[in-house]
Symmetry: C2
Subunit: 267 residues, 2 copies
């Protein structure tokens, strides 16, 4: 079946959502069929496509994870962008931990639904599934990592963000041992970078050295620079790649998509 | 007993930790005795004071919440700053949800430990307790809000951050009804503001109007502007207020402290 890429980082505000929705838009622009799954109770990926969270209630990610007989196709909604569909998020996702606490295999709910979907007769499947995660390592993120074939870790070049990376290796190892997950690190994407800030340049160098020493050549060569155009696009319900296609941020997310396609091809 | 102020926002990366540790430093500078509690599995507040998370294991916030007979004073560590102590955080905090799932009253663990502490004979109590929360509304944040007398909500002037505020009223109402919590909104603090960015200015105006309409005059008049000095201080293990006392950010956090003291006095 298709690659499933989770956008994960316990650190908040590092552009997980921004990177997920812009990669989805870039892949759709290249003619791929993409499904975006919003597993964040804040439902920012849903908002990023201009979709109202209230309209999606009873047919969103929460139903998928908590209702055993709720098939994936019932939670899929159109984004209005050719080739790009979405499973909306909602605040109710925050209740999943409690709702599934006694359930065996609760970590594998999303994986199960994706497998069912691929086994069913539905013809036009997706070329890629992208999953946006909340800033935590809770049941929602574990569900994403158990279902995922790959993960992308967006980071900012700040001190706290650097510390978050150290834990990453442990988490992936635990998932493999305990849940039989096979998620691979696809790469680390540096976002909100300002080349005129000495701290950003220094942390970038430290990050690259640390990652290469511990994991290998996993830092994407694309760097997404800080630019207000990205935040302005959020209010308009369209990823910056589509709203401001000539902007440096759109260019960065476009070359990020090229790198992702190359890396997925190589795995 | 003393005011307990929780720094809360489900949205990630809005300067919860930065605001909590700098308020703690500002209050300590004015001669108050302050206890900072780090309830975030990322333990950024612990790092902000240059304390190694590994040295605190077996005497940190996780023990406080999961071990019934573990008293608060065993988890308290010095920060090296006169009048400012810390209960360190650690990655194990992420397990509290699972560890406490069958426990009755699991939301009130922190409140219980603070009450015990105040009832005990220990002479030099604290004038204020500040609690840093993770970017979620999980059991850790619920513990903080159940123990808190007040909460501060840091926000950035971005579209997603604005949407997060709407949920706030519902959350506080639920806490009051279901858990008998009495937490009051102390205020909303605008952080990482750039007055030269039209989006920031527009969102600030919208935020202020929305908050005044729905809650009243709760937006702090202090605005913390974006400045790299804040991020530079993180690597040095000292809040920016102490590391760069002449910086605009230090000035902002100092006037924020004045507003907090005034508002606490009025409640
Ligand atoms: N390249 C960029 N330049 C400027 N601002 C950016 C950029 N990318 C993201 N942002 C802004 O940073 C903030 C955080 O981005 P985003 O919400 O995508 O992060 P996140 O990691 O998904 O956050 P959370 O942890 O809350 O889920 C948003 O307000 C967004 O507008
Ligand atoms: N006034 C400021 N100017 C510039 N950068 C800032 C400012 N305040 C905070 N930052 C930076 O923004 C990032 C987020 O800040 P911080 O970690 O305090 O937010 P948080 O809300 O605690 O994040 P999380 O949701 O992950 O707990 C940090 O890298 C910090 O250096
Ligand atoms: Mg997000
Ligand atoms: Mg924090």
């Amino acid at each position: 079946s298709a690659p499933v890429v989770a956008f994960v980082n316990e650190k908040g505000g590092v552009a997980k959502t921004t990177s997920c929705v812009n990669l989805a838009a870039a892949l759709a622009q290249r003619g791929h069929r993409v499904l975006c799954v919003d597993l964040d109770p804040q439902a920012n990926a849903t908002t990023a496509f201009g979709i109202s969270v209230d309209q999606a209630i009873e047919r969103e990610a929460h139903c998928l994870l908590t209702m055993p007989r709720f098939p994936l196709e019932r939670a899929i909604t159109q984004t209005g962008i050719e080739g790009l569909d979405l499973v909306p998020g909602s605040a109710r996702l925050a209740d999943c931990d409690k709702a599934l606490v006694m359930e065996v295999g609760r970590e594998g709910r999303l994986r199960g639904k994706l497998r069912e979907f691929y086994r069913s007769v539905i013809a036009d499947k997706y070329d890629a599934v992208l999953v946006d995660c909340p800033p935590s390592l809770d049941l929602l993120t574990i569900n994403a990592l158990t279902a995922a074939t790959h993960m992308v870790v967006p980071v900012t070049t700040k001190f706290y963000a650097l510390k978050g990376i150290a834990l990453l290796g442990d988490i992936v190892a635990t998932l493999h041992e305990q849940l039989g997950a096979s998620v691979k690190l696809l790469g680390i994407l540096v976002t909100m970078f300002d080349k005129n800030t000495a701290l950003d340049v220094t942390i970038y160098r430290l990050l690259k050295e640390k990652v290469e020493r511990e994991f290998g050549n996993y830092v994407f060569s694309t760097i997404v620079t800080r630019s207000v155009v990205v935040s302005e696009a959020e209010a308009g319900g369209l990823p910056v790649l589509l709203r401001e296609p000539e902007s440096p941020a759109a260019g960065a997310y476009s070359s990020f998509a090229d790198e992702v396609v190359r890396r997925l091809g190589a795995h």
